[in-house]
Amino acid sequence: MWFPPMKNVVVACRSRVVLTLLGVTLCLSSAHAQSLQVSGGLDGRVTTERENPGETGPFQPQLTGAFLNLRKVWADEFGDRWIGVAQADFDDNFSRVRPYQLYLQYKGPLGKWNVRAGQYLLPFGLLATYDTERLVLQGLEKTSLGIRKDTGAEAFGRYGSWDYAVSVSDGLSDQRFISSQANPVLTARVAYVQGDAQLGFSTLVARVLLDPTFGFTSPNADERRFAVDATKAFGPLTLRAEGVGGTDNDRGVGGGVLLGDYALTPKLELNTRYAYWNTAYLNPENAGHGAGLGFTYQLRQGLFFRTAGTYQSGRDEHYGFTLQLYYEFSKLL
């Protein structure tokens, strides 16, 4: 079995990440631009996992993540034109440093078309519009794609009631400075948008270098994916769904996720998740179900307490329970 040498790579590239961010900060602070928007967040969690519901596993407290995001807009005489974004994430008690999003974007008139280059979230399925990285109940992309963000170029925008996005990226995600068999990742999505509802269709074709921090035991896969995603609000209830199908090295895979959030009061929200993924059609042994139920409570502006119980079936069957304290802030410099 082969793993990319993540630990060494991360140690070696940590200083490069910090240097890059410092450089980007200096560039973003240049003249002829609007003020620098700095935002950030802290994600502290206590998690326990066990094989049976009656058991009590060890509680593992950790600062799961901290992030710092810099954003700057440069305008010309007609309007906002260039947008620079640099975000670094410090994960697992600051033991892992990675750039999260780092890109420069050129915005066309009224945002009807845009081009960006750098590292960004892939425009595929729900991930295109809903980033669950810092939520306890998350989307399916870590399982269904093995990659969430990548380095490349993307064109996106809108035409009437339709949103579109096309991306070409390198397939390496966070794993840099290593030789790999990854090939360019082609991702595309179109979505029909009507008010707070949207229906999207996505495709991805790639030889992806799978991120070992997502738990994959193989280094890469020839992936073909097609997804349909939908988002709709019904008063206090917001539903998000995604169905994904395709092949991994010519073997059929498929599944989906349903996320539901219900506002009970202005500060208290009920969160639910159900996911299914199968690595070989018609073979129930390769199927896994995941379910989660939790709450989000807003303690004060920008400070959230979340708790969720989860169940995962399949080869790695287990129960989990998570408490999260999440804080985010934003400041203009």
Binding site: G40, A75, P236, A263, T265, Q312, Y327
Partner: protein
């Protein structure tokens, strides 16, 4: 290849590393400055811009910092305190740029703000001309049971033509969106009036800081 074999175990960390991380976490939670509660994240802005200003060519984001002085001026005009005024933050609005003879010219402004509803925030967007008169109002996001009523043209069109000098009293100068939506209608009316006052006070600062 088994791509189902997800790793669920957490990364093991030393106790000292966690303690340091926890201290940093607590320090930042205590001392970091949150955004002002009244500020709203605006989703999908460009579509709304084009609805209100069909001839718009582009937009320019104007960001103004809240200061004790401008918060004081806002509260004086509103006749009420705004939330968490002492905790800083900033406010965005969007100058809409048209083209006259090929030259850029500001044709109006888009403003967005959120108010507290029964099920979370109600995000409202208005467009005003250069004199501060409302050209259109939209509900950008609402989780209320009466969202459809709030979004109805019959309710929202009442705001068209109003300025900050007008009355925004639901039940007298404005009809509620429905009998069940009286409270939510008051929230929307209050948010719209707030936006006109915010814009009036902060626009002068924004022009100095384009």
């Amino acid at each position: 290849m088994n791509i189902m074999a997800l790793r669920f175990s957490s990364t093991t960390s030393s106790a000292s590393c966690f303690s340091s991380a926890l201290l940093v976490f607590l320090a930042l939670v205590l001392f970091a400055v949150p955004a002002l509660a009244d500020v709203c994240v605006w989703r999908d802005p460009e579509r709304t811009m084009q609805k209100i200003f069909p001839d718009a060519r582009d937009y320019k984001t104007i960001t103004v910092k809240f200061t004790p002085e401008n918060i004081g001026a806002i509260e004086k005009q509103l006749g009420a305190r705004i939330e968490e005024p002492s905790q800083g933050g900033e406010f965005n609005f969007y100058d809409i740029i048209g083209a006259v003879g090929g030259k850029p010219r500001k044709v109006g402004t888009i403003i967005a703000l959120a108010g507290k509803g029964e099920y979370g925030v109600i995000e409202v967007v208005i467009g005003v001309d250069n004199a501060g008169t409302i050209l259109g109002a939209y509900i950008q996001r609402s989780r209320e049971r009466v969202t459809k009523d709030l979004e109805s043209p019959a309710f929202l069109s009442q705001f068209k033509g109003k300025t900050r000098a007008d009355s925004f009293e639901v039940g007298s100068t404005l009809n509620p969106a429905s009998t069940d939506a009286a409270e939510a209608s008051r929230t929307v009316a209050s948010v719209i009036r707030k936006m006109l006052v915010f814009y009036r006070v902060l626009d002068q600062q924004g022009e100095k800081n384009p």
